[in-house]
């Protein structure tokens, strides 16, 4: 049986979709069967980041409503053959996701895939709670700023109360993925420090993804950054996070400080 991961955050725009695609592609490159599932019904964009938007015929809602078979809705990646996408509907709204339907789809996917990675919508409403409901593992995506950290804290509370695991009295495995981390801004004190975020959220660190143009470039060509530019700093950080998800015990690499003009001017103050 495969493992179900929910990529969640509370806040929007922090990097959930980017991370779902990048981690999915990274795990698939380890020769494991991976499906990424878009739960952001109405605002789908995992298909764009995966470069599959023009191949979407059926979606999650069609499958749940019985209008399409699961196998008809799954889209195989053109670059990695064991990577699949289950897209969300652009036109329907999230009321079409029923708890029973979601449970059935997740259970089916678990039978065929090693990893089922669910890209959660923002917020703490129905869409987000349905995406996390059947997860075994949660990746909590957080930016190093106060409102993102507070929303993540809120989401962790939900993970510990509103999921099937929590209701059974089991503990949900939770990991912190700190994304859009800008070393220069951190040095200037414009962002929360890594240790402060870790202290506030008190869940283990999965990885730190630097803020990088490489992420934007990758999404512009419709590829997860771990496929588009595997050597880039964000891709390396995602590969490392994927290894840790797969159970390897390796230290987290801290992003390198960029030694630009700003770095020189501000290094004295930051010290």
């Amino acid at each position: 049986m495969g493992k179900v991961i929910v990529v969640t955050s509370g806040k929007g725009g922090v990097g959930k979709t980017t991370s779902t695609a990048a981690l999915g592609a990274a795990l698939a490159q380890r020769n494991e069967k991976v499906v990424v599932v878009d739960f952001d019904v109405g605002l789908r964009n995992l298909d764009l980041v995966m470069g599959a938007e023009r191949r979407v015929v059926y979606d999650l809602v069609n499958v749940i409503q019985g209008d399409a078979k699961l196998t008809q809705a799954l889209i195989r990646d053109k670059r990695i053959e064991n990577l699949f996408l289950l897209p969300a509907s652009q036109t329907r709204d999230k009321d079409n996701l029923t708890p029973e339907g979601v449970e059935w789809v997740i259970n089916e996917l678990k039978r065929y895939f090693d990893w089922v990675i669910c890209d959660s919508p923002a917020g703490i409403e129905r869409g987000a709670t349905l995406a996390m409901r059947h997860a075994d593992v949660a990746v909590v995506v957080t930016n190093p700023e106060v409102s993102s950290v507070r929303d993540s804290d809120r989401i962790i509370g939900l993970l510990d109360s509103k999921t099937v695991k929590a209701e059974r009295g089991e503990r949900m495995e939770k990991h912190l993925l700190l994304t859009r981390f800008d070393q220069n801004r951190a040095a200037r004190g414009d962002m929360l420090k890594v240790e402060d975020v870790l202290e506030i959220l008190s869940i283990p660190l999965l990885g730190i993804i630097p803020e990088s143009m490489d992420v934007l470039k990758a999404s512009n060509i419709g590829a997860p950054v771990t496929i588009a530019d595997a050597k880039s700093a964000p891709a390396q950080a995602y590969f490392e996070a994927a290894r840790r998800l797969a159970g390897e015990d390796i230290p987290v690499t801290m992003p390198e400080e960029k030694r630009g003009l700003f770095g020189k001017i501000f290094s004295r103050r930051a010290a």
Binding site: D151, D153, R154, I156, D160, S161, S202
Partner: protein, 254 residues
């Protein structure tokens, strides 16, 4: 131990909304009012300035009778902050709001021979969080069996721990946007970033202890301080907070 007296800025909230006295009238109303007068005479000022909730769930009265009852209470300076158990048809504009979700919190001792039913009741309110629907983690136990509550994990934003029967100990931090309400003392073995309210059932001896103070609000027995009123030299420090008279006093603990 550094001790910072800050009484000049203390304000007493006349009973925070989480605890109110509940009056349950019975029929005939005039006899009940007589007994109420008797109680008020013997415990002077008992109702003065206290939030009182009128529980009419078991009362077969109509809108007009409820209006009269409220008027009689107003004459006696008993101001009703909310009505519980009222049918929609009983309420007219200008009446206190209808309350729901009250939970019993033990009887209030008013030493009377034939008491009017007076009970304390906690009313958990939406604390006005940025995200909706705070999940209230409500944990209560009978007074006789359990007087303290141990929470072995962080209290997350949006969660509230309400335990009016005694002390609450948190082994972990209390997040910004989270709250802990205890009848006794509050102990936080971590950083207190949210709100802590000790002595919430009327216990001025209750205290708040935390490893690191970054609280949004602290209150003891209804007297509170907001983040900006806290002495800045105590921020980030291990602190205990107690009450001296009507003043909140905070000091470092080592």
């Amino acid at each position: 131990m550094t001790k910072v007296q800050t009484n000049s800025r203390s304000i007493r909230i006349k009973g925070r909304s989480f605890l109110a006295v509940v009056l349950t009238p019975d029929l005939p109303l005039d006899q009940w009012l007589e007994r109420l007068d008797d109680l008020a005479a013997r415990s002077a000022g008992f109702f003065l300035g206290r939030p009182v909730v009128l529980d009419v769930s078991d009362l077969q009265i109509d809108r007009q009778q409820l209006g009269e009852c409220l008027a009689h209470l107003a004459q006696r300076n008993v101001s009703i902050m909310g009505i519980e158990g009222a049918r929609h048809s009983m309420i007219s504009p200008g009446m206190p709001p209808v309350l729901k979700g009250g939970r019993p919190a033990g009887d209030v001792d008013v030493a009377s021979v034939e008491p009017v039913a007076v009970a304390a009741q906690s009313v958990a309110h939406d604390a006005g969080e940025t995200l909706q629907e705070p999940q209230a983690t409500v944990l209560q136990a009978p007074r006789s069996t359990l007087q303290s509550l141990l929470i072995n994990e962080p209290v997350r934003s949006g969660q509230s721990i309400i335990f009016t029967e005694g002390d609450v100990t948190i082994v972990g931090s209390v997040a910004s946007g989270a709250e802990v309400i205890a009848g006794g003392s509050v102990h936080v073995y971590g950083t207190l970033r949210g709100r802590a309210m000790a002595g919430s059932v009327g216990n001025s001896q209750a205290r708040i202890f935390c490893r690191k103070l970054e609280a949004e609000l602290i209150a003891i027995d209804g007297i509170y301080k907001m983040a900006e009123d806290l002495p800045t030299d105590l921020l980030g420090q291990p602190v205990q907070v107690w009450l001296e008279g009507d003043a909140i006093v905070a000091g470092k603990v080592n």
